[in-house]
């Protein structure tokens, strides 16, 4: 369903992605792990066409994104939901207007109906009674969950989650993990999730891929990753400071 072929991307001479190959089948949940600054968010933005590769192709259902007209791309995006790492809530709108933005733009539902749906989605991410507040009045973890509610509001077929549980307490984080699993099991959603949290990764993934030095260095089922012999992946999932991955600036 999602197919990335040999993606290269540089920013002002900084070569972030150096030939990423990755495929996600329909209904599958892929988790991407990798160090901070390794280009995971950049990778995710390529899938929904926010960034265009310098080289290589992104194909959704066999269609090359770069070949789509703006109208076709927007049609496609209506079937996508994306949670930004920074939440990216519209700060001029209330919480429920944020969650209902896509519905307001793309359906003919009345304001009351949209609000009702928004409240229901907010409840799914354990937020109750904040629908009339402004995003600036919320905590970081609350904003993240509003972003999540906005991403799922249109009942998309594909969900892209950029660090959905970062900044949440363990209990709320687990609720979000359950929600992600539920979205896949009940609605057959295809998803790509970025996370640093291995517990979360094992729980929601069908497959885990690790991004390092601009390429996918290893991928497999959670069990395969747990028992991988790749020393880079081992160091990462076990969280050791010492290993083949040198931490920049510490000078090992």
């Amino acid at each position: 369903m999602i197919e990335l072929t040999d993606i290269h991307k540089s920013f002002e001479g900084h070569h972030v992605l150096r030939g990423v190959n990755l495929a996600v089948e329909k209904g599958q949940s892929l988790v991407v792990i990798g160090g901070s600054g390794s280009g995971k968010s950049v990778l995710l933005k390529h899938i929904i066409g926010l960034l265009q590769p310098d080289k290589g192709t992104v194909a959704i259902n066999g269609k090359d994104l770069s070949q789509l007209s703006q109208e076709r791309l927007n049609e496609l995006r209506k079937r996508f939901g994306m949670l930004f790492q920074s939440s990216a809530l519209f700060d001029s709108m209330t919480v429920w207007e944020n969650v209902g933005f896509g519905l307001k733009r793309h359906t003919s539902l009345s304001a009351e109906q949209i609000r009702e749906i928004a409240v229901q989605k907010l409840r799914m991410v354990r937020l109750v009674g904040i629908e009339d507040e402004m995003p600036s009045e919320l905590s970081g973890g609350m904003r993240k969950r509003v972003g999540l509610a906005r991403a799922i509001a249109m009942e998309p077929e594909v969900l892209l989650y950029d660090e959905p549980t970062t900044g949440l307490d363990p209990i709320t984080a687990d609720t979000i993990n359950d929600l992600i699993v539920k979205m896949r099991e009940e609605l057959d959603v295809t998803s790509v999730t970025i996370t640093h949290n291995m517990k979360c990764a094992y729980k929601i993934a069908d497959r885990i891929a690790m991004l390092y030095n601009g390429v996918i260095i290893d991928q497999g089922s959670p069990d395969e990753i747990k028992n991988t012999s790749n020393p880079y992946v081992r160091q990462f999932i076990e969280g050791h400071a010492v290993g083949p991955i040198a931490v920049e600036g510490i000078g090992i």
Binding site: E75, R77, A88, L89, F90, D91, F101, G102, H106
Partner: protein
């Protein structure tokens, strides 16, 4: 600093997308009205003060000058012509672009660096059409509208100084205004205003839309929006005037 050629290319492309957006229904009425209030209504106090002060000071200087050769009866004419042809559109444009242009650049710039513009795109919403087209329409309509206010208030300010303070007769002043002022002076002034409205919204939205580099970037975009708007207004004013008032 980006290279000027790239900047110019991108602003022309943006202008083109805005024009396309204008003719692609539906128009976002709610946002457009909000922007009209923001640009138009909220600028009225500062426009009023600018217009009044300019009209008054114009009358004062003209009176002193004309008095030397006994032509103080023409003060009304000079005030009316300068206001409608020149000071009305230019001062309104400078004041409004300093206020509303800066706030457009800051708002769009913040939306850019906090990924809100990206979020709009993922929600299948064209950010140019959603954010820039309403601002563009408002600038294009509200600047001429505010200029009408500036013209009137400026002329009244001149009247107040010439008649109430300096003792010109009311009849003389009004005749000097009406006998020489032509419709052409007014609507050519408004054409200038319309052009300035287009120019400053486009520049400010462009600066905001392509902001990079966090809070510092937003600051730079805002300053850039005001500086480039001012330059464009002042320089284009000469050429527009030469062309319109042949």
């Amino acid at each position: 600093m980006e290279r000027p050629a790239i900047g110019l290319g991108r602003i022309i492309l943006l202008f083109w997308s805005v024009i396309k957006g204008l003719f692609q229904p539906p128009l976002d009425m709610r946002n457009t009205i909000r922007q009209m209030l923001e640009i138009g209504v909220n600028s009225i106090p500062v426009v009023l003060i600018t217009a009044l002060a300019t009209g008054m000071v114009l009358a004062l200087h003209m009176y002193t000058g004309f008095d030397r050769f006994g032509a103080e009866g023409l003060v009304g004419t000079v005030v009316a012509l300068s206001m409608t042809r020149e000071f009305g559109p230019v001062l309104t444009a400078l004041v409004v672009s300093g206020r509303a242009g800066a706030s457009m650049a800051a708002e769009l710039g913040t939306m850019r660096v906090t990924e809100q513009i990206d979020a709009l795109e993922t929600l299948a919403t064209d950010p140019v059409k959603y954010l820039i087209v309403p601002r563009f329409i408002s600038g294009m309509i509200m600047l001429p509208a505010l200029t009408v206010i500036t013209d009137i208030v400026g002329i009244l300010g001149g009247y107040f100084v010439a008649v109430s303070l300096l003792g010109t007769s009311s009849r003389t002043y009004m005749r000097a205004t009406w006998d020489y002022l032509q419709m052409e002076d007014i609507y050519n002034g408004l054409i200038k205003a319309c052009f300035f409205g287009i120019a400053f919204t486009l520049i400010s939205c462009y600066k905001g839309f392509y902001t990079r580099g966090g809070a510092a970037g937003v600051g730079k975009a805002t300053t850039g929006a005001v500086v480039y708007s001012f330059m464009t207004i002042l320089i284009s004013d000469y050429f527009l005037s030469a062309w319109l008032f042949k």
